[in-house]
């Protein structure tokens, strides 16, 4: 039997439908406002250089005993966790009674070229944790690290565990040398010293180009073909544009920190193989003995599950929980399933462990 049976009239209908959508978009694209993000009000509680720590304001008073500080990656903006009213990890956590803070790294410029991982982890994160603890009036807080921010949170916990009650990692790479980790595979032939010595800070456009080439046809073409379907729907179009804005709203990367991260994590895989030092101090995941919740996405093309799953084998804690989410690296925050599954899972896990 023929594998393809496309009626020419049906093909024509498809083309006409697509053209009608295009025609409709001439109106809808003019109706949509310049999309904004952030569903939840927040207040600044700490500022240092370009780093700002915010506290999100919930509708009611938090009922949780200790606050959560979200530590996002450096490579994208943190508002992904509070993108819009119906797609917000933050909003859902607040509704469950959690007290949520977040570190906004800002946009590094030439003045930040020499920031190291020591500056980020033993400096900014440590002082942000102290600021949150002081603001909330507690001795220890909960840390929630996302992606690269998760790797930073692991290092921070290994070095400053006394400041934390619980650690949650989301889509966090731990073993960088698994076979399906395309990003890591590509970095291993790079002379990162030459790279950073030449570029200084790593331009965001270069980073975005690299991410797009992980799935070039799907991310650079198929996604926009699918956009044709929603061109006549103002709400869907705004959702799409908001996501686009987030994807390409990327800060440059501070050169020295980038050099260290690529060398020690992507090339050296030192979180797993050992020998990692941050600011001259040994970082061993075995030192992490507090409760750990590790959430990863099963269809993640940036941090494959194989890179995130091994955390349990390397931390020293006896209280380790992992949650495999059916979705991708972004879907874990913005999909409908994520809204239903992820915040309650975090809340329930914390409720059993926070004193």
């Amino acid at each position: 039997m023929d594998p393809i049976r496309i009626d020419p009239k049906r093909a024509l209908d498809e083309a006409l439908r697509a053209q009608q959508k295009l025609a409709a978009s001439l109106r809808t694209l003019r109706q949509v406002e310049d999309v904004d993000y952030g569903a939840t009000d927040k207040e600044e509680i700490y500022r240092e250089d370009k780093v700002v720590v915010y506290r999100y304001k919930g509708k009611g008073k938090p009922t949780a005993k200790a606050p959560i500080l979200i530590c996002y990656a450096l490579v994208n903006r943190p508002y992904m966790v509070d993108l819009q009213d119906d797609r917000s990890l933050v909003k859902n956590l607040l509704a469950l009674g959690e007290d949520v803070y977040i570190i906004d790294w800002g946009y590094p410029d030439g003045g930040d070229r020499w920031l190291t991982l020591d500056d980020y982890i033993n400096g900014y994160i440590r002082r942000s944790v102290d600021a949150v603890a002081k603001h909330a009036g507690v001795k220890k807080i909960n840390l929630l690290g996302i992606c690269q921010g998760g790797a930073f949170s692991l290092c921070f916990t290994a070095l400053h565990q006394e400041k934390l009650q619980n650690l949650i990692t989301m889509v966090t790479p731990v073993d960088f040398h698994t076979r399906d980790n395309m990003l890591s595979h590509w970095t291993r032939g790079m002379d990162v010293d030459l790279f950073v010595d030449t570029l200084g800070n790593v331009p965001a456009d270069l980073m975005n180009w690299c991410y797009l080439t992980l799935k070039p046809v799907r991310l650079n073409q198929q996604k926009y073909v699918a956009m044709l379907d929603i061109l006549d729907d103002k709400v869907e179009l705004e959702n799409f544009l908001r996501m686009e804005k987030w994807i390409f709203d990327s800060p440059d990367q501070a050169g020295e920190a980038f050099r260290e991260f690529i060398k020690d994590f992507y090339q050296g895989n030192k979180l797993v193989t050992g020998g990692l030092k941050i600011g001259g101090k040994d970082v061993s995941l075995k030192n992490i003995t507090l409760p750990v919740l590790n959430i990863f996405a099963e269809q993640d093309h940036l941090v494959p599950p194989s890179a995130a799953r091994p955390l349990g084998d390397h931390v020293g804690t006896k209280d380790y929980t992992q949650l495999a989410f059916k979705g991708g690296h972004i879907g874990i925050y913005v999909s409908g399933r994520a809204q239903r599954e992820v915040p309650p899972a975090i809340h329930e896990w914390l409720a059993k462990r926070t004193r």
Binding site: I4, D34, V35, R113, W114, L212, K215, P216
Partner: protein, 349 residues
């Protein structure tokens, strides 16, 4: 004769549907925007031209800046899709059932004429073009043929420099060599992308073969397009995860950095000649400022810790000597009191 008659009728039907398509498009745009689509030679007009017209109308209406980038991406992605729509409709109108013919038709659809020439300098677009274009077929052989010429240019660059401008000449030679190396690594990269393209079409044929069973047939152009995307990504991933790709990718990035460094050196020389600050000088200053900033912050933290420790010790001393805890007193008062009292040993000593 009957066959010829049938073919003529199919062609007429096809021309009729194409005309309907353009009339409908003109009608839709008129209603939505008050504009008019070009109505010349609808039978000959490529379908993605509708998209180009849309683009022109969109530009004319001055899109908001925040969305215009997305619109550009939409255009780039949808052009291929419209070319595919036309190609597939054309193919099905001929009643062709051979999967290989479909595959070739698909290959041609992605190689449509009128592609934006500006995209050629975009590495990803170039990679995309070669991922899908049949023109990439003989790429490896072509690069093989160019090797002798490249070797000759390289040999000339190895000639010794001498005289007053020797250093300058050597720098230019280094820059030219770096550029040639970069070209060579780009070619190696493109060769692998071409291999991924070839593999994508092989996988596409496999995926099509799996759809021969009843109930699994592809019955829409979008379905076919999505199937091709799956095959393209699978083919690309196979190549991109290979050890060879890792080596080539690293070499390409490193070669590009060497070109940039050579150019930066040239700019530094010019800046020096003009008495302007150079990147090296600014980096050096930036590094010193950063180190000072870090040292001052560490000192501030150390000072704060010391102050806290002193306060705690004072409080302990006050308790041991029977006076009120220091926290309950104004700081000046406590200092005055301390100054009038004889020193007492604290438990910490």
């Amino acid at each position: 004769m009957a066959k010829d008659h049938g073919a003529t009728r199919t062609l007429e039907d096809w021309q009729k549907t194409s005309r309907q398509y353009w009339e409908a498009w003109s009608d839709a745009t008129r209603k939505a925007f008050g504009g008019t689509a070009d109505a010349t030679s609808p039978d000959q007009m490529p379908w993605h031209e509708g998209l180009e017209q849309w683009s022109r109308m969109f530009d004319a209406g001055k899109a908001q800046n925040a969305q215009s980038e997305t619109v550009e991406r939409l255009l780039a992605g949808a052009r291929s899709y419209f070319a595919l729509l036309q190609s597939m409709a054309d193919q099905s109108s001929q009643g062709n059932a051979d999967p290989q013919a479909w595959t070739e038709s698909l290959r041609n659809a992605f190689n449509f004429p009128g592609a934006d020439a500006a995209l050629v300098d975009n590495p990803l677009a170039r990679a995309m073009r070669e991922l899908s274009g049949s023109g990439a077929k003989g790429f490896e052989q072509m690069m093989e043929g160019l090797q002798p010429a490249l070797r000759e240019v390289r040999a000339m660059l190895d000639l010794p420099a001498f005289g007053y401008a020797r250093e300058h000449q050597e720098q230019h030679q280094r820059m030219a060599k770096a550029w040639l190396d970069y070209q060579q690594e780009t070619n190696r990269y493109n060769t692998l992308i071409a291999r991924a393209s070839k593999r994508a079409f092989e996988l596409f044929e496999d995926k099509l073969a799996e759809r021969g069973e009843p109930g699994r047939q592809v019955d829409s152009v979008r379905g076919l397009y999505d199937l091709w995307v799956d095959a393209a990504e699978d083919g690309y991933a196979e190549v991109a995860l290979s050890d060879e790709f890792r080596e080539v990718y690293g070499a390409l990035v490193n070669a590009q950095m060497r070109v940039r460094q050579a150019m930066q050196k040239e700019v530094e020389k010019i800046s020096n000649d003009l008495g302007m600050p150079t990147r090296t000088e600014i980096d050096s200053i930036g590094k010193r400022v950063h180190e000072l900033h870090r040292a001052s912050r560490n000192r501030a933290e150390d000072d704060a810790a010391l102050r806290a420790e002193i306060a705690a010790l004072r409080a302990e001393v006050e308790q041991l000597t029977g006076t009120r805890p220091i926290a309950a007193q104004p700081q000046g008062a406590s200092i005055r009191k301390r100054a009038t009292k004889p020193a007492t040993k604290s438990s910490k000593e």
